[in-house]
Amino acid sequence: MYSYIARRLAFGGLTVFGVSIIVFVVMRILPGDPLVAIFGPEGMSKLTEAQRAHYMAELGLSDPLWVQYLGWAKSILAGDFGRSFFRSESVAEMIVRRGSLTAEIAILSVILSWIVGIPVAIVSALKPNTAADGVVRFFSILFLAVPGFWVGMLIVLGLLFWFGYRAPMAGASLFADPFDNLQLVVGPALVLGLGQAAYIARMGRSALLEVIREDYVRTARAKGLNSRLVIALHALPNALLPVITLSGVLLGLVLAGSIPVERAFGTPGLGNSMAQAVSERDVFVMQNLVFLYAVVFVLINIAVDVTIALLDPRIRYR
């Protein structure tokens, strides 16, 4: 087991390295000029040749690429995520302050997706190809098609229109101000959670359909066990394994999905900072945030793999 975890972590390290290369290539080497990104095409054309060279040198952009890469890697390792061009707060401070809100949204949405998705999966797997199954299938496909940020805008609009309600604008921490905090996270978590629930329901349904046909489930039925217990104790635990794996992938998608959704709700989380960095073309902040999100995604995947290995000996001993 430990060797499995060690191997998985080593592999994760390699992946993080590869990810850092891709981020660096995308943000620094692709044809887009960082100065154009910062000043905009018009501002760029007003700069003189000397000014351009000056800014490039000041930002460390005229060094050889590998020097730039090493410098970046060194500062990341030291926990220095740089500073926005537009605000005084350092990016590291911003991540700490706003990241917790996004993390809360992500975790809450995963919990919600299980609460909604699993019962739906059970119902539709136990009565496959009936009207109920059809309705569930249609709704899960519908939820896959609806963009979360649009639903978010509609919810904000609806609440404002019918109840004159608007969630607080300022950030509120879970411990200092739990009620305000809840109002901030519940909307995005609901939208993102229902979106995931659709995937969970579909995956749970097909996994359960497969498991129900296995011999050991038939044995359990044959020995006269109550059919609810057969599902709950025998079939469900095995059917949940692929659902857990999927949930890990979805958690990564939620982190990305929370960017437009937080923007739609006006939630002051990290996703909203990302949206802001993008719209301001804040290259360096973007570079670090993209890297951070990818690393978090890699870590989530490792955590999921280890969890699955703990739960499923077949994987552990391979």
Partner: protein
């Protein structure tokens, strides 16, 4: 001998193949009328976007200062925005961007990925190993974040957005097709062809590739929907196709920036258009999947 038999092969194969496409459509309609219905909806949306200039009641960029921010009415079915542009016309023209980007990204990204997967599965060895690592690195990013970063680095525009979304599609094509090829490669008919002295290129494209068409089609239809949502998100976040071009994402972003309380019609209609289009493609894809691969019926 090989040359002539190959030629006669293609000659006889083309006629039944055309027939089988038609038969496929008929079977789809008979076996799952729901998918066929959504297929028609998808076709209508495509038709609408092609003939946008004729169908749309107003030019999408024309402001009418006598009708600013008006709710839906007889003259403007979907209302007008802050500077008096007709929302219906903008939604119709928006479908052009959405579909161009989605089809472009899938044709480019999913196809490139599929060919890459074909080469990986066929050649195996070190090439495959390195390719799989690169694909894993690419998959370590949530789609939207990678697309955002690329779109931002390259600067906005139609081509950029297509490239950005296409790159996020590559790993999926690569993975799926590779696993299909891995199992096909061991089949006896491939071995027989190899025994007859067929070249790598001939084996790959003439014997293995045709078997990859079904999984590719399933993948491509699903990816159309995903690409539409990513394009809309990019537009919403301001790194898509720059305004004033009417795209569904841009329209939603405009609505959000319209003030504290955006008018409901500016929010509702563009989003509904996204939902309807993605739904149509997904359900059509579901039908195609059921038709081509009954084993997968109802799975994710």
């Amino acid at each position: 001998m090989t040359v002539t038999s190959a030629d006669s092969d293609t000659a006889t194969a083309s006629a039944p193949r055309r027939l089988s496409v038609l038969r496929g459509v008929m079977t789809l309609a008979r076996r799952s009328p729901i998918s066929a219905f959504w297929g028609i909806v998808a076709a209508l949306i495509v038709l609408m976007s092609i003939s946008a200039d004729v169908v749309a009641p107003y030019p999408p960029l024309k402001s009418d200062f006598r009708a600013m921010q008006k709710p839906p009415s007889e003259t403007h079915w979907f209302g007008t925005d802050q500077i008096g542009r007709d929302t219906l016309s903008r939604v119709i023209h928006g479908s052009q961007t959405s579909l161009t980007v989605a089809i472009g990204a899938v044709l480019f990204g999913t196809t490139l990925g599929a060919l890459w997967g074909l080469a990986c599965g066929y050649f195996g060895g070190r090439f495959d190993m390195i390719s799989q690592r690169i694909i894993e690195f690419l998959q370590s990013f949530p789609d939207l974040i990678l697309a955002m970063a690329i779109a931002m680095a390259l600067g906005g525009g139609l081509g950029t957005v297509i490239v950005a979304i296409a790159i996020t599609r590559i790993p999926f094509g690569g993975r799926v097709i590779r696993s299909v090829v891995l199992s096909l490669k061991e089949m006896q008919y491939v071995e027989a062809a190899r025994g007859l002295g067929a070249s790598h290129v001939r084996l790959m494209f003439r014997h293995i590739l045709p078997q990859c068409v079904a999984p590719y089609l399933i993948l491509a239809t699903t990816h159309l929907g995903v690409a539409i949502v990513i394009e809309a998100s990019l537009g919403f976040l301001g790194v898509g196709i720059p305004p004033p071009n009417p795209t569904w994402g841009n329209m939603l972003a405009d609505a959000l920036n319209a003030g504290l309380v955006p008018p409901w019609w500016l929010v509702f209609f563009p989003g509904a258009a996204i939902t309807l289009t993605v739904l149509a493609f997904n359900l059509l894809g579901d039908g195609i999947r059921d038709l081509l691969d009954p084993k997968l019926r109802g799975s994710v």
